[in-house]
């Protein structure tokens, strides 16, 4: 399936968001995700199906002012 993550194109096998994160190699806590500009909460990722051409945002915490 062809999707976009943080603006970059990927071909992935995963069908659910948590599997996708794992497939990309970023498993672990302290991450935030949005699909097509909608928040997908931490506990919803295992239920959230991803579809062709979905735009996925994965954000990490950083230092900030």
């Amino acid at each position: 399936m062809h999707i976009r993550v943080n603006g970059e194109e990927f071909d992935v096998k995963a069908h659910f968001l948590d599997d996708l994160i794992e497939e990309l190699g970023y498993a672990g806590d302290w991450l935030a995700t949005a699909v097509n500009n909608e928040l997908v909460a931490n506990n919803e990722r295992s239920n959230h199906r991803i579809y062709e051409h979905d735009r996925i945002e994965i954000l990490s915490p950083m230092q900030g002012g």
């Binding site: 672990g28 302290w30 991450l31 928040l39 954000l59 915490p61 230092q63 900030g64 002012g65």
Partner: protein
């Protein structure tokens, strides 16, 4: 004791976490200043699980309340989605709402700010809006449900200190019971003291500490400056007058001057 959205806040110095020379210096600055709130950001960046987990532990170790911000957002839509993501990640309803109107000067877009604040309050966020010193903007934000305000005293990182004392004073008088936190543009400890003497409730600093030659020492200096200013305010500061009043009583002296 300062209270913000129902939480007791033991110290009136808050620190941003950006641009420190190293994580170790950041940690020491937070510890030695006794800062009770630190700000953090969210970035469209995927950090590996291990590094994220270590950063998480590092932040927890700082032992301060985390106030996530919507830094980098230039529209209502961006700010709102970022706030939602921040709430999910940091597990707090607190959000420092920044909507930038100009990428160069980082001046807040007050129109987008008010609109975003309305939406976020509605969704149950505890909004800390970073704003200019405009009284009408303040009124709109309070009307939208913000229970605190974060006016600037000068542009972010400029270290100019307050040049808008009149408008800050007006805001303080206008909202006597609202916690007001001055954010952005502070340069030296005496700026912070001066603002606390005016009756502001806390100061949020980043550049003034992080970019000082000795950030840890500067953090301590600011902590003491803020304490001094607050104590002075609570003690009731003497109003200035033009004619001298001797502090030693003159009645009873053998010879009048």
């Amino acid at each position: 004791m300062l209270t913000l959205y129902g939480k007791n806040i033991p110290s009136r110095i808050f620190l941003g976490t950006a641009q420190y020379p190293s994580p170790m210096i950041l940690e020491n600055a937070v510890r030695h200043s006794g800062a009770s709130i630190v700000t953090l950001s969210l970035r469209r960046e995927i950090i590996g699980g291990e590094q994220r987990s270590r950063f998480h532990k590092f932040i927890e170790m700082l032992d301060a309340y985390v106030l996530p911000n919507t830094a980098g957002c230039c529209s209502v839509k961006e700010a709102v989605i970022t706030a939602r993501l921040a709430r999910d990640l940091f597990k707090t309803n607190w959000i420092k709402l920044e909507v930038i109107g100009n990428q160069d000067t980082l001046q807040p877009d007050i129109f987008a700010l008010v609109e975003a604040a309305k939406i976020l309050v509605e969704e149950g966020f505890d909004v800390f809006p970073y704003m200019t010193d405009d009284l009408i903007v303040a009124e709109r934000l309070v009307a939208a449900g913000c229970k605190t305000l974060m006016p600037w005293c000068a542009p972010i990182g400029s270290a100019k200190g307050p040049s808008n004392t009149a408008s800050l004073r007006t805001m303080r008088d206008h909202f006597p019971d609202l916690p007001l936190i001055v954010d952005a543009g502070i340069g030296r400890p005496s700026h912070a003291t001066m603002l606390m003497e005016l009756g502001f409730d806390a100061i949020l600093l980043n550049t003034a500490v992080a970019k000082a030659l000795d950030p840890v020492k500067m953090a301590q200096a600011f902590a003491q400056a803020i304490t001094a200013g607050r104590l002075g305010f609570e003690a009731g500061i003497l109003n200035p007058r033009d004619i001298a009043i001797p502090s030693t009583p003159v009645i009873g002296q053998a010879v009048f001057p």
